[in-house]
Amino acid sequence: MMILTQKLHFLSEGDFYPLNITDPVQSVVNSSGVKKGQVLIYYQHTTGAIAIIEHECGIMVDLEDVLERLAPLKGDYYHHRRGYDQNGAAHVRTAILNVSVILPIDGGRMMLGEYQEIVMIDFDPGLKTRTVIVQVIGE
């Protein structure tokens, strides 16, 4: 049984920034040598999510529209009263979505459907790097 844990760091410009990370994750799976198993993709922050979604620009805008209705960027958040940061919307959006996904691996490939991609979405404002932990388990 092999377990490989790799941290990947991605550049994000923030404010609903969707990035297709399917290929970098598959590269980690390839480097593990695991042929059958699972891969965990874990977003190591409180202000972003991992989505298994078709990475089409219209869908990204639609998702952003829905999240804006549920947790508007310029909303009045109790989180802001602490005075440390003003990213209440980002935290709420993250709680609604997933910070991690697990995918099956077979034949050394993640068993994604034809239009499924792994998309990391950063909700936090501002330019920064974000960390995604990829853990491959299997044989």
Binding site: Y17, P24, S27, V28, C57, L127
Partner: protein
């Protein structure tokens, strides 16, 4: 959806590497990420090659160069300083402008698309650098001078509305008749808000699939 009459490509990140990517490749290749097959421009390996701070510095310098708020010489000088190297700027300029690899898979696709559509280019490289690259790679075949926009002409590229409107104006086309191919999510979002059709570029396989879905291939 209306009929697509014009396909516009963003240069850095689609036809050629992004500017900060090419600087990193030329000056401090990320062996750690390359060793596991990851060479994507937005992946920062946090290896000994480039720290997070420097990675972000390079990106910020790229943004300034794209809108023309620093000169190409200053861009190279500051990149070299950020990476802690001692190198004349002209050496980096030559490395970048003479040796930039045009993506061969995208180049092949341009040949196919040019026979069916008018192609336009939004170039985020300085005009001098682009001219060298274009001459070397015969890019004028696909992107005649009148269909190339340089981002350095615009002082504000966020949210890119002015730039995108000029792109439409040059083609005398409606937004619905235009397709933009770009890797940057923020620019793509701005394009969608202007009713321009968009394909987010990740790699050639996905682009070809997208073009088939749009009915263009």
């Amino acid at each position: 959806m209306g009929q697509i009459r014009r396909i516009n490509f963003w240069f850095g990140g689609v036809v050629a590497p992004t500017l900060s990517q090419i600087v990193r490749w030329v000056l401090k290749p990320d062996e750690k990420m390359a060793a596991i097959g990851i060479t994507h421009p937005w992946v920062c390996g946090h290896s000994s090659s480039v720290s997070t701070d420097v990675f972000l510095q390079l990106f910020n310098l790229e943004k300034k160069l794209i809108i023309g708020s620093i000169s190409p010489n200053d861009f190279c000088k500051k990149c070299i300083e950020a990476l802690g190297l001692e190198l004349p700027e002209v050496e980096l300029i030559n490395s970048i402008s003479l040796n930039i690899p045009i993506r061969p898979d995208v180049y092949s696709l341009l040949s196919v698309l040019a026979s069916k559509f008018h192609l336009g280019l939004i170039c985020d490289y300085p005009p001098d650098w682009y001219q060298r690259i274009a001459s070397k790679n015969n890019l004028e075949t696909f992107f005649p001078k009148e269909r190339v926009i340089f981002t350095t002409e615009f002082q504000a590229t966020e949210p890119y509305f002015d730039l995108l409107k000029k792109m439409l104006f040059l083609g005398s086309i409606m937004p619905e008749e235009s397709l933009l191919i770009d890797a940057n999510p923020n620019r793509n979002r701005a394009a969608i808000f202007l009713s321009i059709n968009v394909s987010t570029f990740v790699d050639i396989r996905r682009l070809r699939r997208d073009l088939v879905l749009w009915g263009l291939l």
